[in-house]
């Protein structure tokens, strides 16, 4: 059985992960590693398109668990990374061949301003 945490997530987060500060629930500020997944996003209304971004970030569930943070605690949390501060408006579990609890969570973010 392949250990996806050791063989995939560890090296990926080592290379493209960035430090982030998560303030969720009563846990206070916790430093985690996230992968910035902010993407361009277009909203179309009829034939008119509006161009913006859809901010997002991946984090590893084992790291959150180790630091005492449950996924559900993250909704409404503040997440700061790459010089910007966001609010977690929702999240989705991304799963893993080794099980959901060893996979990633994708935070769906919104502006904190």
């Amino acid at each position: 059985m392949i250990d996806y945490s050791a063989d995939l997530y560890d090296p990926v987060y080592e290379v493209i992960g960035v430090p982030a500060t998560l303030s969720a629930g009563t846990a206070g500020e916790v430093t985690i590693t996230v992968i910035d997944d902010t993407r361009r996003k277009t909203q179309a209304s009829g034939s008119v398109e509006m161009r913006s971004v859809g901010p997002g970030a991946f984090a590893r569930i084992p790291e959150l668990t180790a630091k005492g943070i449950a996924r559900d605690d993250c909704d409404g949390a503040t997440l700061t990374f790459n010089g910007r501060t966001w609010i977690v408006r929702s999240h989705e579990a991304c799963g893993s061949p080794n099980g959901e609890d060893l996979g990633e969570v994708r935070f769906l973010l919104k502006s904190s301003a």
Partner: protein, 153 residues
């Protein structure tokens, strides 16, 4: 030269551009960056004349009754919880201003007792979504009935 269709669209852009808190107004621009929101866009839209159903032998350059339906789209980004009231305010102001604008009604379309034009509010649709904040759009339709006089073009 009098082109009522163009006069309607040009004045309509001025009217919607005067809506409160609008940052930019566009005509037929279908690619709006978020930095220009709240934005309102006037699309020229379609028109139909009574020519297809006219079985008379009148000269082709005699006046037609035309009904045009330009599109009006309003886009806004803001906190998701306030978007509903923002769109409601835009809708209210839009309807009021288009249907009561003196220049549009009395000078261009010529509504009223002695004119044969008309402006009608047909309805609206809304879209909501997420970008870096909440996003909402209001698409509204009005019908402008006017007399097309080919000799004046």
């Amino acid at each position: 030269m009098i082109d009522v269709r163009e006069d309607i669209l040009a004045r309509l852009l001025e009217v919607v551009g005067s809506l409160p808190n609008i940052r930019s107004a566009h005509r037929n621009n279908v690619d709006i960056p978020e930095t220009q929101l709240p934005a309102v866009i006037v699309l020229d839209g379609d028109e139909e004349s009574d020519g297809a159903g006219d079985v008379s032998m009148k000269q082709p350059h005699r006046p037609y009754n035309v009904q045009m339906t330009p599109g009006i789209i309003l886009q806004v980004q803001d906190d998701n919880v306030v978007l509903g009231s923002i769109v409601t305010t835009f809708r209210r102001e839009l309807i009021k201003r288009v249907l009561t604008d003196t220049e549009l009604n009395e000078q261009i379309v010529k509504t009223g007792r002695h004119g044969n034009g008309a402006i009608r509010y047909l309805g609206c649709q809304t879209d909501v979504g997420w970008t870096r904040t909440g996003y909402a759009a209001l698409t509204a339709q009005f019908l402008f009935k006017y007399s097309l006089k080919p000799d004046d073009l």
